[in-house]
């Protein structure tokens, strides 16, 4: 049986019901998604590795379990993909870098292992900016990902492949990593939900690090229920990740919400469609009894700069291990060990990665450390304190995910321009709090627009509660890409 294309855009929860009702099997669903990848991914570029054989084998096992009434979880038999910085046993993990082009991990990341344990069907590995450094997935050393809504636009980044895949029916959900907005920004550009949970809520064991103090595992989905279901499977303490925390309840007793709106989006900062979406979201939440106040965010310019300094410093340290001897593909130099290191790293890393490593080393130098690195840590403490205050008075912060909708491929010229686009997302990472990007309509060009909700520590249940109110006002059909118009 061949499934119709519109079935591919169902949510994971809808698929689960269909599987329970024997409308189709997990194998039929998986084969249909693989066909979708075959038919559309050449133009979107979401996947770096597709494991069709492994996916079909997992789907068959799931069907056997369902037949015998031994379903493992609500995700049993549901196909999904992961960003290519999650280690997957016996399946290539490249971080979209020449450095790891042939790396096959001998173990699974905890998040992947939990999904295997839940019976979910892994389709393959998704494209990203190299080592998760970038905001467009143009900085992948292996291929570029295009926005499924319009191929002239970027999919966002760094988890652009995962967002594009979920938006175009190439998997029901996906995992990404979010260090400064790398899940929420591509989710916003591609019109899907993107959750960055509280720092430590999901184990990062087996996720190749970018900036250890900021990295979080994130979730892409086509509905809030799906996002909650996946989060419920993944959250919890892991003895292999010392920063992970015990799972809290997702039950939330409804009450009127107190919501803060940042004051830093003056005239011209936001694209008109984004400003309009923000107003509409405010109206919808107000109809449910929410009250709003405008607040000042802690030092926006310094927060962005602090993020850039901290990320670079941690990248320089984390990526020191890729020298072609301990880790990574090796390249011969002039015969000396130093030359081998230098040539390996010069060839193996792309421009953006090199830039961040070098800048990281610069801000950590003894004569610059106080002015840059130590000061950035001070700003981060200031942001964290500010957010603690904020969430002692308000339940949520409502703002855009990005000031603009997806930009055209090749249009961002300097690294600073790229960093400035992270204005709305870096706060959640600096403070360690959860945030979600909620698709909320399209602009006149048909590109998705979204809003972002941020909550206090372990406030995921509040995020889901409020996001569901917005979801009811923005039907999924509105957010679907027009896949038949591949090149407009």
């Amino acid at each position: 049986m061949s499934l119709e294309t519109n079935v591919l855009f169902r949510t994971a929860c809808e698929h689960r019901k269909a599987l329970d009702n024997k409308e189709y099997t997990s194998l039929e669903l998986t084969e249909a998604v693989l066909e979708q990848i075959d038919g559309h991914d050449a133009s979107v570029g979401a996947f770096l590795t597709v494991d069709a054989e492994g996916a079909c084998a997992s789907a068959r096992e799931s069907d056997r379990r369902r037949e015998s009434g031994a379903v493992l979880s609500p995700l049993d038999g549901i196909p999904y993909g992961v960003k290519d910085n999650f280690c997957t046993k016996d399946l290539r993990t490249t971080c979209a870098s020449r450095m790891l082009e042939r790396f096959i991990p001998p173990y699974d990341a905890t998040a992947v292992a939990k999904l295997r344990g839940a019976g979910a069907v892994l389709l393959g590995k998704q494209n990203m900016d190299e080592f998760a450094m970038g905001s467009s997935t143009e900085h992948s050393a292996l291929q570029e990902t295009r926005n499924p809504h319009h191929h002239a636009f970027v999919a966002g980044g760094s988890s652009g492949g995962s967002a594009a895949a979920v938006a175009s029916g190439m998997g029901c959900f996906a995992l990404g990593s979010d260090t400064g907005g790398s899940v929420r920004q591509p989710a916003s550009f591609c019109g899907v939900y993107g959750l960055k949970p509280t720092y430590g809520a999901i184990s990062r064991y087996g996720v190749i690090e970018m900036a250890t103090s900021l990295d979080s595992v994130g979730i892409f989905s086509r509905s809030i229920d799906d996002c909650m279901t996946v989060f419920d499977v993944l959250a919890g303490q892991d003895p292999l990740d010392a920063t992970s925390c015990a799972k809290g309840s997702l039950e939330f007793a409804a009450r009127p919400l107190r919501i803060a709106i940042p004051d830093c989006f003056g005239d011209g900062v936001l694209a008109p469609s984004v400003a309009k979406a923000l107003e509409k979201a405010q109206d919808v939440l107000a109809e449910h009894g929410a009250t709003f106040e405008t607040v000042a965010l802690p030092s926006p310019e310094q927060a962005l700069a602090a993020y850039s300094v901290l990320v670079s410093a941690e990248c320089a340290s984390n990526l020191a291990r890729f020298d072609g001897i301990r880790y990574g593909s090796s390249k011969e130099g002039d015969g000396s060990l130093r030359s081998r290191y230098e040539q390996t790293r010069a060839y193996g890393f792309g421009d953006e990665v090199k830039r961040r490593i070098l800048f990281g080393a610069y801000v950590l130098q003894s004569d610059q450390r106080t002015d840059f690195y130590e000061r950035a840590r001070e700003v981060r403490r200031h942001v964290k304190r500010g957010f603690l205050h904020l969430f002692s008075k308000y339940d949520l912060l409502l703002c855009p995910t990005t000031p603009h909708t997806a930009f055209k491929r090749g249009s961002v010229q300097t690294p600073e321009e790229m960093y400035r686009a992270d204005l709305c997302t870096v706060y959640a990472n600096l403070a360690g709090v959860p945030a979600i990007s909620v698709p909320f309509g399209k602009n006149a060009d048909g590109m998705p627009v979204s809003v972002q909700l941020t909550a206090g520590f372990f406030g995921e249940k509040l995020l889901f509660h409020a996001a569901r109110m917005l979801e009811a006002e923005c039907p999924r059909e509105v957010m679907l890409p027009l896949l038949e118009k591949e090149v407009r």
Binding site: V309, A346, L358, Y362, H389, K393
Partner: protein, 96 residues
């Protein structure tokens, strides 16, 4: 002071990244200089942040002072573990 080519070469050695030629070194110097300038904003004073400051329309609500009867001496003494006459005995914490 702007980053020099010599500093970039030193950083390249520290990070074990070879530059292919002078053109590449100069390109990286320009980009890192842009990032350095961008990060100079860190030197500026931080914006004070206190969401409570913005509650212009809210006022603290006070109640009128009211004189109330205190507890009787006997009730208080009855709750003390050890007493001596009208006093509560506590452990000595400072040696004389």
């Amino acid at each position: 002071m702007e980053l020099s080519l010599k500093e970039i070469e030193t950083l390249g050695r520290v990070c074990a990244i070879a530059f292919q030629n002078e053109e590449e070194t100069e390109k990286i110097r320009r980009e890192l200089e842009g990032m350095r300038r961008y990060a100079l904003v860190l030197r500026e004073p931080l914006r004070e942040f206190d969401p409570f400051e913005q509650d212009g329309e809210e006022e603290t609500v006070w109640r009128e002072d009211q004189a109330q009867e205190g507890l009787a001496r006997e009730v208080l003494l009855a709750n003390a573990p050890v007493t001596e006459g009208d006093y509560i005995v506590v452990s000595r914490t400072v040696e004389a």
